[in-house]
Every structure is written in structure tokens, then in C-alpha cells.
Subunit: 227 residues, 2 copies
């Protein structure tokens, strides 16, 4: 890729919006980026192919999702460098942005399960309690099945459809958290019982007081507050 081609990749409103969104270091799905930039999925798909071919993004295919993130810190540097030529965005926006980002770092959804600091804490606690087994091919232990049953969650018997548990890389914590059917079920339950609720229209979550109590009790966490 020549200088001209790299610049060309960033010379489009939609592609630039993708890259700027990815400046937070997280991985986004193609659909999320399409919605964020206000274009159709087909358009987003082609843009992402060009950005990855140009070496600006790397992608991870996970099931039917195409996760995409900046290829490295050099790309972020380039974006910052280019952005520095524009008049800096007014303070309110930056403030709101940083608020949103720190909220998402605390707790958010990752596709259909819990992520962020909350997701990692929950996953660690489940492992400590021996509720899920983190061995070659994750699975739920006997005690884990009981725990989920007590919670009122019926885990599907292991079919060949979706893995019951799956470790999912957390892009802010740089650690794995609980995905798969169990993670999705837990997340659904948390929403239904109002342990968490969405902040605005993004992926960020707020942990309610009752949610804080419930998580600490269920996970036997001897801490003042889960976050």
C-alpha cells in the first residue's frame, strides 16, 4: 500500500467514522459500525474489507460475526496525527465521550453477554467457585448446573448448536470473560431481574443497587461493591 492508498482509505467519511470509532481500542462488529456510521450493511462490509486489506484493521471471525479492530498502535497514532489538523472537538463532546467510554469499561454487553470489568469479575468468580470448567473445551460443572438452576435459568442440554460456555476476549480488560449460551442466559436474567440496565442507546450498562447485592451474594464475593 502506497501513501496515496493509505490516505485514500481515510479520505472517506464512512471509513473515517469506522476508524475513529475503533480508536477506543475495542472490537466492533460490522453491523455495529454500519449503524454507527448510518450506512447499509453491504456498504459497511465493503469498507471493512478495504480497510483490512490496507492493513489498517485486523479482523476476527467469531461465529456469524465479524469483529474488527485497529491493526495496532501505529494506526492509532496516524489517526491522532491526522485529527490534530482539524480544529479540536469542543470540550462538551470530549467530556461526554470520555464519560461514555469509562461507563462501557465498567460494564457493557458484548453481543449477548456481559463484558467490561463486570464481565471479567463475574467470570473469575464462577471459575473460582468451580461452576464452569476451564479446560480443553469449556463446559459447565455439575455444581454449575445446579447454580444456574437455582438462579432459575435452564441451560440447554449441550447440543451441537451453540457452545454452552465460550471464553470471549474482553477488549478493554484484555482478558477473557464468559460467553456462549451460559453467558447469554446470565445476561438475559440480569436484564429481566433489573440487576443491570442500559445507559442510553449504547452498549454501556448501569448496575442497579439490587443488582450489586445479587451479584455479590450469588458469586460469594466478599467485597463492598462489585465494581
Amino acid at each position: 500500500m502506497s501513501l496515496v492508498q493509505i490516505a485514500g482509505l481515510l479520505a472517506d467519511q464512512t471509513r473515517a467514522a469506522f476508524c475513529l470509532a475503533l480508536l477506543d481500542g475495542r472490537a466492533w462488529t460490522a453491523g455495529e459500525l454500519a449503524r454507527h456510521a448510518g450506512v447499509s450493511q453491504s456498504t459497511a462490509s465493503e469498507h471493512l474489507s478495504r480497510l483490512t486489506a490496507g492493513g489498517l484493521l485486523t479482523e476476527v471471525r467469531q461465529g456469524r460475526h465479524r469483529y474488527v479492530r485497529l491493526a495496532g498502535p501505529a494506526v492509532a497514532d496516524l489517526l491522532e496525527d491526522l485529527a490534530s489538523f482539524s480544529p479540536s472537538t469542543p470540550s462538551p463532546q470530549t467530556l461526554r465521550e470520555s464519560t461514555r467510554m469509562s461507563a462501557e469499561a465498567r460494564a457493557r454487553t458484548c453481543y449477548d453477554h456481559l463484558a467490561g470489568h463486570l464481565g471479567v469479575v463475574v467470570s473469575d468468580a464462577l471459575l473460582n467457585l468451580g461452576l464452569v470448567v476451564d479446560r480443553n473445551g469449556l463446559s459447565v460443572s455439575e455444581r454449575g448446573l445446579e447454580w444456574f438452576a437455582d438462579l432459575g435459568v435452564s441451560l440447554p442440554a449441550r447440543r451441537r448448536s451453540r457452545p454452552v460456555v465460550r471464553s470471549c476476549l474482553d477488549w478493554t480488560e484484555r482478558r477473557t470473560h464468559l460467553g456462549g449460551a451460559a453467558g447469554a442466559a446470565l445476561c438475559r436474567t440480569a436484564f429481566e431481574r433489573q440487576w443491570v440496565e442500559r445507559i442510553g442507546s449504547g452498549r454501556a450498562l448501569r448496575i442497579t443497587p439490587s443488582g450489586d447485592r445479587a451479584f455479590r451474594e450469588l458469586l460469594a464475593l466478599d467485597i463492598h461493591s462489585i465494581i
Copy 2:
């Protein structure tokens, strides 16, 4: 200018060629850049207008010439940053480039007069000898007229056409050198008497042995070699 617009300026082969040529820190005329990139003058003119409007270049109008250079070190940084994504140019090219550039730093033509280190040395010597007067509105002294006459150069009586002497900013030395009719006459004489000769097709000059002697004698320079 937004990030997208800045990137758009660099996303064109011709504009990128302009900017990369200007990475040497010197000022180029519109015509030189047009020839360098292989486009017509009209095309180059429009590109330069867009680059200056976008804040990447600054321009200085001098007579019928439009001199243009990078707006600042931040632009050079951005270009280097972008270029770093391309596979680096093979060593031979870089070597040839650096050779050419150092040659031009030593001695070159600036439109129609001498520039580079040679140009500055000559101008300084002429000022020291009191041959040109550097006061409000440059002019040639009585002794200067004699000096030029001895050289066999007839300076045009001061018309209102072209200034006899003019200080011209040197883009490698960051100092002024002798331009105007006197500078052009001196340069022409240097070529006719083979004190200097062109290196290749660029602006770089080689000082011949006889030229080295002639310059040192004429300018009463007590140095081993003029460069």
C-alpha cells in the same frame, strides 16, 4: 478541515508527489512541481490551491512565480507517518536521492541566479566588499558597478523593469542570497565561463576547478576552497 478532507488531499497521486517533493524543505515553483509530477500547469495550479487552502502548504508569490513549501514540521511528520505504512523505498533510490539533495544544498540555481551554500557565500562576500548595498531598497555601489564591469558584465541601468539586486530567501541555508538582475548576470557569466556546470537535469551545480579559483579570486576569499 476535517480529518477526511486532510486525508483526501493526500489521497491523490499528483498531490502526494508534490508533498513528497517538498519534503526536502525547499520551496518549489508551480511549474517545477508540474514537470516533476508529469501533469499540466493548469492541473498543478488547482492542486496547489487546494493544498494551500487545506493548510498543508504555504506559498510566497515572487514576481511571476508561485513558490510553495510545506506549511511546517507537523506536515512533514504527517507525511513521514503515512509513508511509514508503505514498504520503504529500496536503498539505491534513497541513496541517489540523498546524493542529489546534498549536491543541491552545496550549489544550485534558484530560478536564474546562484543559490545553496555557493549562493550565500557569494552574496556575503559581495556585501563584505561593499559591492552591493543592503539598505532600504537594494542597489549596487559605485565599486560594485566597476567590479561587474571588470567581470565583463554590463548591468542594465536601473530601469523600472527588474530590480538590479534583490535579496532572495535561500530555502536550504535559511538566509538571503543575491537575486535580481545582478544575480542573474553573475549566474549567466558563471555558466558561460564554465565556472559551474549542471549535474544531470536538476537544479544542482558542480563547481569546476577553474570556477573555484575564479570565485575565490574575484571575491578576495582567503579560503582553500569555496565550498
